[in-house]
Symmetry: C3
Subunit: 424 residues, 3 copies
């Protein structure tokens, strides 16, 4: 079994992957330094959770103060985690670390090696080459400019959260007017403005739209007439009630779906994050999951926009089986990746097994890195590749799939389905 | 481990199974043709989900038009699934297919072989012999006649959905009057009519009652007095409010439970299907699951009818642990099978492991095929047998069970408990 | 793999464990007899669930009547369960049983051996020595006296259920007055009384507070002013409305958290039990689980009492991933053990794998026995040790952990984190 897994991994490694969701910055995809990599919220939030005070990780501290404090917390507390495993894998594969762990004793050598690499002009391409990844999707606010980078490698993706959850805020509406060149004064002009944004993104090679959604969000189509007075109130600077916000957000979502249809842009849904649950957490380390969301909150969306493709990720495994049944039945739904708190081998393998057994191999997007720096795409994809090798080896051993068939599944998951689904 | 699994499978295969739930038609248990087998909704819904237009699968098309279109969709999209695996296993074991897959190239030969077999008078018995299955439960509407077939092999089962969810419809009430010979005009006569139906079924060797339930259904006992005015309104052809329907449905359920008690008939509950979720789906391919149902919605039922046996299946794995605790504690509750969207090895093995570890081996019904044609009972049971072999092998390897003890568990699950539970 | 698991188990066995939750009675930790062990509710509830009438297990029956009836029910029904496995393991390791099972034929010999052992003065210490357990936490009602036993071995733990769910009952308030020496007449004196209880417990080496909570319980801070009129009504003997009870209970919980803060006592939360769901069940065999609870009901608690440590167990696996994310992010939250209906290898291994992969090894409490008699601590811990060995072996085989690193995880889970978390 063990050698079968290794054989399959070897074959899987040869498939050039498409990373369909990341937070990599288009103009500066790599980190500046080892210290910046260690400032990734996964490490600071876990260190804080283990008791390291925020002051010990503050930006204004020197590397010599911050890095050893963090690495000591790792060694004492969370060196067992896969999250930390990404860092060591990355240091091994990209920065020549020879020791098993990155430690208070060896970090300076690694930091020096990293600095040399990261300053190189070709660094992003080198990371992608070593990770065997062809394209990495970005996360772009509607107000962003999409010039000055290779859009065939770093694929723009319109992140829509503000157009739903902050659409009633003056800041959002002003920015929308500015960016679209359409002065937003009513639903008619709002629609024009949103359409202009989509047009700009599609003309700049956007691969998809994307949005993360709260557990409470339930799609309902909202008409212009219903939205009009609420939008007026928002434009007049009035504070909206919770109900008004909900209605206006649903209206915003309706516009998004309509534009996805018009521009034939698929929409990536990431469902179920509870934002700002922890008052005391570090930056980006305050969110949790809720087991209360149901994919049935989206049934009307999938029905109404039957010609728009929705790729769906959940934060809570309590939605796992729902997504399996929706992907099974709905032509326009795809099961996608393993998001954030489920991006852990124990969850990945469980979900992956049932997906591979019950879903068409063409209706799943295998994985995305969600990385903030290009360096993390490599260890995260390798972690997934091991999960995939283990799950497929089990299928081969059960004689459900031949090795060759299992590789077809792997190609679908890592690469082919991304091309079939997104505008790339 | 691998050889232990195979040894156990070999022993498990020898246990003649009882299939406690299917949709097989008593007067025509087998399919007429390979094409009819391929028209099973599992295949059409997956093909549609992968983009094959409904017109390409229409009844009026010739086999030469429909079958290759479907098989090409399979090959291009979902040949990895267990659902499709049932078809190839069936073709291997029943129709002499030698190739690994059923394809656009070999289907005609298989179709010819199938036609020959399926026309045989003894076909149902041959399938059951090869699948080593002794009895297969049917799904019978209350209006059905139960004559003209071997009721020791094909066991009648009173399907009660309409007596709960459509009891307020004139069509149901008229049919009930017709079939029972009792003119339904009030709760008193309704009770007589339902009782007459039960009597007919029990006199015709019914093994159990059965019902599928929505995620929202919550049992409440409803008195005659509370039901009377609603039933009157329904009989008068009035449209019932949602609340009235809920109350009348609960009343119908109360009558069912009372008759199960009176006739000592166990009731099979299948909980949690969301009907007609997908507007665009193919026939029978429009339902999904919801993670919102809780078995606590049935606690009052199990308490009130403590002398009626309820076998329980769920559609959502979020009820898995609830059912484990209810079966553990409640004398009259049994964990039953792996229904529909959970009839996938990855779910089966997970559920089975914890059931085998924590539940009395006499309180579980192992499996049912849910098959529409008798041919599918064979591959579905074989799939389950492999799951069972794998789970039991793991227990044997942990030294929790000896091989002999594991076989006792298998006999309970596949056969003995069906006899102990149902009227067979 | 198999030999790796056994090697790891051998090492894990050498770690002296801390049992952080049990129902062992401080003055009589062991059972009086084999029959008393067999009267543990796990055995009576399963026997009853399998159809053995309560009368056959009644206290007034002789051993010769009760024990064979129970053991026959086991043999016929639930000899496959891990629950019963604890009994045989215990008989093998503590009472010299040589046969694989405890049966109607051999029980008398075992009972005689047990009686001899259990009468020994040193019995508790011998059990703990053989189970390699150093300390066992108790469950003590606030009204209990904590003298007359070795509190370094049997660690007091203030069980707080009544101070939340029964705080509006005259009996509770009277007992509180009696025990604290503070006459409770308003919120001011109530606070004094509760504080006196905490002081007594802390002065008597209490390791923690603990409470089990219903699925509906949601923390809300309640002010003295809001609680005052409800407490007055309760003191006047009035029956409280459901809403009043909820508010007063939340107030009680607020007081508990404030005292935990003041006395630096961690609080063990056990979330999600549905009490008295089965009207017909045996004593202590009437509770089930609900999939409806969410850890988000406690977010305000964890935020408000950021300086109090909360160790959290759930009864429903639908909270598993929520707890993972809360432990990941919240400094003051710990994932703890595998409670009651999840204390089954299939659930333990699943949860343990994702915890070991994603959570700091210092933020998890591995296991507690929940035992009613000291004898059960041994087989339950051994069962857990096997689960731990299997999960860690898998990590070692994936090369995520070295054997040495996996043993550090084991030490954290079984021992070190208990010292770091509790007042011991």
């Amino acid at each position: 079994m063990s050698s079968l897994i290794e054989n399959l991994y070897g074959e899987i490694e040869k498939i050039q992957a498409i990373d369909i969701h990341s937070h990599v910055r288009q103009l500066e995809p790599g980190a500046k330094s080892l210290r910046e990599l260690l400032s990734y919220h996964y490490y600071t939030e876990l260190a804080y959770s283990c008791g390291l005070p925020k002051e010990k990780m503050a930006d204004e501290l020197s590397d010599e103060e911050m890095v050893p404090a963090l690495l000591q917390t790792v060694a004492d507390n969370y060196s067992n985690t896969v999250q930390y495993g990404w860092m060591t894998e990355l240091c091994h594969k990209l920065f020549g670390l020879k020791d098993r762990h990155l430690t208070v004793d060896n970090w300076k050598v690694v930091a020096a090696a990293a600095a040399g690499k990261q300053a190189g002009k070709d660094w992003t391409q080198e990371v992608l080459r070593r990770g065997n990844i062809e394209k990495v999707f970005l996360t772009n606010h509607f107000s962003e400019r999409l010039d000055g980078f290779d859009r065939k490698t770093l694929v723009p993706c319109l992140r829509c959260d503000d157009l739903v959850f902050a659409i009633g805020q003056k800041k959002t509406l002003d920015l929308l007017s500015d960016r679209s060149g359409v002065s937003v004064s009513d639903t008619r002009s709002l629609k024009k403005a949103v359409s202009a944004i989509f047009e700009y993104f599609v003309n700049h090679d956007a691969g998809s739209a994307a949005i993360s959604l709260t557990p409470e969000f339930a799609f309902q189509a909202v008409s212009d007439a219903a939205a009009e007075p609420i939008l007026s109130a928002a434009l007049a600077g009035e504070t909206l009630t919770h109900e008004q916000q909900t209605t206006l957000g649903a209206y915003g979502f309706t516009l998004l779906a309509e534009n996805c249809r018009q521009f034939q842009l698929p929409m990536q849904l990431m469902i179920g994050v509870v934002r700002d649950a922890y008052q005391h957490g570090v930056d980006k380390g305050t969110d949790v999951v809720s087991n209360r969301a149901s994919l049935n909150q989206y049934a009307r969306l999938f029905n109404r926009f039957a010609d728009v493709t929705f790729t769906v990720s959940y934060l809570s495994p309590t939605m796992q089986h729902e997504l399996l049944t929706f992907t099974w039945i709905f032509q326009n739904v795809r099961a996608s990746g393993h998001w954030w708190y489920t991006n852990v081998p124990g969850y990945i393998e469980q979900d992956l097994r049932t997906r591979v057994e019950a879903l068409p191999r063409t209706k799943m997007l295998g994985y995305y890195s969600d990385a903030y720096y290009i360096e993390f795409t490599l260890p995260k994809f390798n972690m997934y590749r091991w999960c995939l090798a283990r799950v497929l080896a089990d299928q081969v051993q059960m004689k459900r799939l031949t090795e060759e068939e299992s590789m077809q599944v792997a190609r679908n998951l890592l690469r082919d389905n991304a091309f079939a689904t997104f505008r790339i």
